[in-house]
Subunit: 193 residues, 2 copies
């Protein structure tokens, strides 16, 4: 990370640490030490731990947006193949670190949404944006004849977003990719038919 500014070092190391340990368990001191920057750097660059939390949430979401662009919103591929690609990208992310870390959006929903209204409001925007991309893909699948015309794209998109979060959460508890694999299998065999 030699070319990064102290601010960037804190964000990169802090995102990794918070994703692993949780927002509460990763203290400012832990983050500073992991980033290898002076103790005063954190307060120089972030007004509060909540402000830092919002920034790492946005950093993580920037990667999610890249995934959405090459999967769900990638018109060059057949729609259901895009949905598979999106779910597999999520499964891969949650397999990081031995399936121990889960999804930052789910972790923040569970741990931080009660205590921070700003983080909760940002999570809602993020889930809305992901759900819109899933809906876009399902509608494309209907247009392409891959799904029946009476498919309830909005409702199924909401189900996919929440059920995928649940599968990632249980994968984290079980330290196994079985819940996410199971979800993908059941989605395509029992829901989308």
């Amino acid at each position: 990370m030699s070319k990064l500014s102290n601010r960037e070092r804190i964000l990169v190391a802090g995102l990794k640490l918070v994703h692993e340990r949780g927002f509460g368990a990763a203290s400012v001191r832990d983050i500073i030490e992991a980033a290898g920057v002076p103790l005063g750097s954190f307060t120089n660059h972030f007004a509060s731990k909540e402000a830092f939390g919002l920034e790492i949430l946005n950093l993580y979401f920037a990667k999610t947006r890249e995934v959405l662009a090459v999967s769900l919103r990638n018109d060059a591929l057949p729609p259901l193949q895009r949905l598979h690609a999106y779910i597999e990208a999520n499964t891969k992310t949650c397999q990081m670190e031995g399936v121990k870390v889960g999804c930052l959006f789910g972790n923040f929903s569970a741990e931080t949404s009660y205590g921070s209204e700003k983080i909760r409001a940002r999570l809602v925007e993020i889930f809305d944006e992901i759900q819109a991309a899933v809906k876009y893909c399902l509608e494309a699948a209907v247009k392409a004849g891959e799904l029946p015309v009476n498919t309830e794209c909005e409702d199924i998109a909401a189900l996919i977003v929440s059920s995928l979060q649940g599968a990632i959460l249980l994968a984290k508890a079980y330290r196994s990719s079985e819940p996410t694999d199971q979800f993908e299998k059941m989605l395509f065999s029992a829901v989308l038919r």
Copy 2:
């Protein structure tokens, strides 16, 4: 709580506080103050915060077992009615405190399973026991002719447990019961048919 011992006061007040704020954010001092007991009581009764965490997890699960007994495992009622009752009991729990708190099992999975192997192992046992009860109910529905004989009861039970956790997690982020209502609707209209 006048008739409770200090130990019981700590467990009851501590469970409420941890369910609301999270395991990390509810400090031992906060818990002691909420319980209205002397500061030394916590260390007198619990070897560590992790040991306390395991006890509140078991206390919460004792209530879940009561729900399982009167819903999924209640042979006096038609099976799919039992499944509805189980999901609605979960929805009600997650609507506590203005849909802010979520399910303790999901919260612990997200926040605490990385840092505590004992709590993680207990969560796996708990999810397994809930999944077995859902499977039992689905098998009863097949026997009663409420579901087709080729229903994949084990796989669908796993999907129900993880998707319900996801719906409760999103309900917490959105502070709305729409994700859980949506899940119930989609489960019965799109999965179990």
